[in-house]
Amino acid sequence: MKRSPMRPRAARPLRTNRPPRAARPVAAVVAVLTVGALVLGASACGGRATTHHKPGTSHEQAGGSVGRLLAADDGAGNRLRQVDAEGAPGVTVTVRPDSEDGWNVHLSVRNFTFTPDSVGGAALLGRGHARLFLDGHPLARVYGSWFHLPASLVRTAGGGTGLTARLYADDHTAWAVNSAPVQATASLAAPSTAATAPGEARPDTTVEIVVSHGRVSPDPGRTEIRKGRTVRLRVRSDRADTLHVHGYDKEARLPAGKTVTLTFTADRSGLFEVETHESDLLLTQLVVR
């Protein structure tokens, strides 16, 4: 132990030269103050404070499981998390055309709280976020009850009218009751303004391609597309690869065994090759005019 003369804490300077007469007033002071303090203490606050941390909030540890993970998924690779119907999260969705652009989507939830900051954490009952899908294609993740859906997002997703809102837990599992995801659907009416021409949301061209053991099916050929239309490439490869559309320079990762959708607007005319990078396979040629 180091000791330094700098700090006489316990032995504070004594004041021994105080005249003894001071004692009586001090004693009176003590008496009066004590009475005063006790009167005030008793009247102003209900009871004496303890010298400990008062108990504080309960520190009750949570228990039990948070639903049961099913083998089934939501169609997008997220497993279902089944809970009892009673007290299960629920959602309804309403859509109204926005006066300027697109739609306003309102999610009305019950037994559910949006928790944007904890997404990525573990699932807790009745918490999480919602996802919006348009005819099965993912649109957006939603962290609150209102969402503005711009017409451009609908176009990018390839158009459609069936809007689905589905509830997910923080760990991205989908809440489910009786093996069915908790979700609601609504129909997108045409937006009321001229900003979005109805034609733009027309059905697009979808090309489905499967790569298996280095073979492309259907056999590579040409796909004719009208300029300005939306193209949707749905590709599944049995090994991890990269999808590439020449000219448009669009790329997408192809995880093994998963169907990947690449959507874009064919806004330039010409002949464009679609190929895989690692295995160097030609998948199809797009003729845009």
């Binding site: 804490r9 004692a23 002071v29 010298t51 400990h52 504080g56 909030t57």
Partner: protein, 691 residues
């Protein structure tokens, strides 16, 4: 210690007996002793990890690392392949596999729920014999922790020396250890000197996320903790510690709590050989307090940001069982402490905090303040010595930048008389940027200093703005240089009354003291205003009767009485929040003092004893005005306000008797009656600021 001084100490203790400290933390744990200090701060080790932890879903993993920079992504994919062959699926399994000092565990991106640790204790572990804490959990011994590591901890690191645990993600949020409010602690390191934590997140506990207990040597590097009933980081009774680049939010007590940091500088003055714990580059926000330190001794806190809490930082000597009390030698430098004005007390009032932790909504920003504290404060020191607060930026505080109060020793469970006044000495607040952000923009604090007046050699920078008291001892250029040598045993009476009322907070009973502005009381609801108003009413009545019955003939008395009425009015005005830190309270004292002096001089002709007593009361009041506005009077062990207040009580009784007997005397013409003797008795309620 002379016995007169001893009496004063008793007096201080009696007053303080009714107080709980305004801002303090507590934490009940098995008895521990401070480390012997022979260890060292561990150094980060690069190189290949010895043990790997990952989840098994490859697709999920690839998605998690897909956005990483190429080099890091490749490394993670490589580690993942290795981990799938020879790694662990849970962090606890890897910790259990540590068989020698100096091993490195790498935790790959993923969510770790540590399922095998989750079940409630069964069998022997459900029947441990251990005392219960006030907070509702068992206080287990080390042996019991070792036998039942998951009674309280999601991940228990017991007796592993020089272990390094590192997340391999691009961000600390890429590796998440989530206790889901099912355990008291997410990660506990106990008996594991030299532990190094790096680059992960721990969250959602019913006590603390990352707990380091009684260790010599630890580093917390780039770790995030959040959403806990009490603390984000709790490092207790430890030495050779370093927190860097950490973050914490959403805690009911504090984000960062270096409680009972090793008391290595107890015998030193300001110059110390080293600090036990260093905290730098951390941000702690949206908690009750950003930083707290019951017995936070020898902690060097620099270049951090504590913002948007109820209070930026606090340190105290208010709870028993913390080695190293009273708190001493914290050093705060270059920290940004600002906008700590959150008010989470409504969460207690509306019942949100009465729900189980899992249902309170911490993730949405709910905080349940565990104790009573003054929201809107920058740095609170409730009983501490030799603390240095220099060169910090403190701004945008709606209450006060600095709060300093004393806490007598028996509050922390030490009854020795000589210790009762051993806190709040030698605290130095110098060279701080008050009311100004780093860019130099003006962001004033409502008050720069709030001090109860107790203690010796405390000092503040000369350029501090509004303060209470208005006149403060100022710091000289050198540490230890202080203008004036005040050394009071007890704080100002009205401030103690306020602390007394405010301390009556109870979360479980949902009790928020009505008279205290910490919980939203304003105007006449505040105890300070009530006291001032009651005193003013009594004095106006007594003064008025006295003037009417005894002093009407004197012009001096008339002028004095008018001044007195104005003074009392100003005293009520000066007790409001807006004017408390201005010169108004001192002006009120000046006028009231002049009143007493004036009427005393007149009274003395007919009633010398009452007259002279009144003059003395006036003089004391003037002295109090000087003490509060011009300079604090050194050498006296109590503020003039105490003596003045007590004498005022006697005076009121005496003056009433004198006024009442006046008519009787007149009737009996020149019949000489003896001067009335002051009734020494029942002290009325206003032991407060009896102006």
């Amino acid at each position: 210690m002379s016995w007169t001084r001893r009496l004063l100490v008793v007096l201080a203790a009696l007053v303080a007996a009714l107080l709980a400290a305004p801002a303090a933390q507590a934490h009940e744990e098995r008895p521990v002793t401070l480390p012997d200090g022979t260890g060292s701060v561990p150094v980060y080790r690069t190189g290949e990890p010895d043990l790997l932890v990952c989840k098994s879903d490859r697709a999920d993993f690839e998605r998690r690392v897909s956005g990483f920079p190429e080099g890091l992504r490749t490394r993670n994919l490589k580690l993942f392949d290795r981990c799938r062959k020879s790694g662990y699926r849970h962090l606890q399994q890897a910790v259990d596999a540590v068989d020698r000092p100096g091993m490195n565990i790498a935790v790959l991106p993923g969510l770790y729920e540590e399922e095998p640790s989750l079940p409630k204790p069964t069998g022997e572990c459900a029947r441990l014999k251990a005392p219960n804490s006030q907070l509702g959990y068992q206080i287990l011994s080390y042996a019991q922790q070792a036998r039942c590591p998951h009674n309280q901890n999601l991940v228990a690191i017991l007796g592993k020396k020089d272990l390094q645990i590192e997340g391999t993600g691009a961000e600390r949020t890429d590796v998440v250890v989530d206790a889901k409010y099912q355990k008291l602690n997410a990660i506990r390191a106990d008996g594991s000197d030299g532990i190094y934590f790096r680059n992960f997140t721990a969250q959602r506990t019913t006590f603390n996320s990352l707990y380091v207990l009684a260790q010599d040597g630890f580093v917390i590097d780039s770790v995030l903790t959040r959403w806990n009933d009490e603390y984000g980081f709790l490092t207790f009774a430890s030495d050779h510690g370093l927190y860097k680049n950490c973050e914490s939010y959403g805690n009911g007590d504090s984000g960062i709590y270096p409680g009972s940091a090793s008391n290595i500088n107890d015998t030193y003055g300001y110059d110390v050989p080293r600090y036990s714990i260093e905290i730098t580059g951390c941000r702690s926000h949206h908690n009750m307090v950003g930083y707290s330190g019951t017995a936070g001794d020898s902690v060097y806190v620099h270049d951090n940001e504590f913002d948007h809490n109820m209070g930026g930082a606090s340190m105290d000597s208010a709870f028993p069982g913390h080695p190293g009390l009273p708190q001493n030698h914290a050093r705060f430098e270059r920290n940004l402490i600002h906008d700590n004005n959150a008010d989470y007390y409504p969460n207690v009032a509306d019942g949100t905090c009465a729900k189980p932790p899992v249902d309170r909504g911490y993730e949405k920003g709910v905080v349940c303040p565990q104790i009573s504290m003054p929201p809107g404060s920058g740095i609170i020191t409730a009983g501490g010595n030799w603390n240095l607060y220099e060169n910090n930026w403190i701004y945008g505080q709606r209450r006060a930048a600095f709060v300093l109060t004393a806490v007598p020793a028996f509050i922390r469970g030490e009854g020795a008389l000589s210790k009762q006044a051993d806190t709040s000495h030698h605290n130095r607040y110098a060279g701080n940027h008050l009311g100004e952000d780093k860019a130099g923009n003006s962001r004033p604090n409502r008050t720069d200093v709030w001090w109860d007046g107790q203690g010796e050699d405390n000092c503040w920078q000369a350029d501090a703005g509004p303060s209470s008291p208005r006149a403060l001892p100022t710091c000289g250029a050198e540490r230890g240089a202080v203008s004036g040598r005040t050394d009071r045993l007890v704080g100002e009476p009205v401030k103690l009354a306020q602390l007394l009322v405010c301390a009556d907070y109870n979360v479980q009973a949902r009790r928020l003291p009505a008279g205290c502005d910490w919980y939203g009381a304003r105007g006449i609801e505040r105890i300070e205003v009530q006291v001032a108003l009651a005193v003013a009413v009594v004095l106006v009545l007594v003064g008025g009767v006295l003037w009417r019955r005894r002093l009407r003939g004197s012009r001096l008395a008339a002028v004095a009485t008018v001044l007195g009425v104005i003074g009392l009015g100003l005293d009520v005005a000066g007790s409001t929040m807006g004017l408390a830190a201005t010169y108004v309270p001192a002006l009120a004292l000046l006028l009231t003092g002049l009143w007493w002096t004036g009427i005393g001089l007149v009274l003395r002709r007919e009633r010398p004893r009452l007259g002279w007593t009144t003059v003395v009361l006036g003089a004391l009041t003037l002295l109090d005005a000087v003490d509060k506005a011009v300079f604090m009077i050194p050498w006296i062990p109590l503020s003039p306000a105490w003596v003045r207040g007590l004498l005022g009580v006697v005076w009121v009784v005496w003056a009433v008797i004198a006024a009442a007997r006046h008519g009787e005397r007149e009737a009996q013409a020149s019949d000489p009656a003896p001067d009335s003797v002051p009734a020494s008795a029942p002290a009325p309620v206003h032991e407060g600021d009896a102006s």
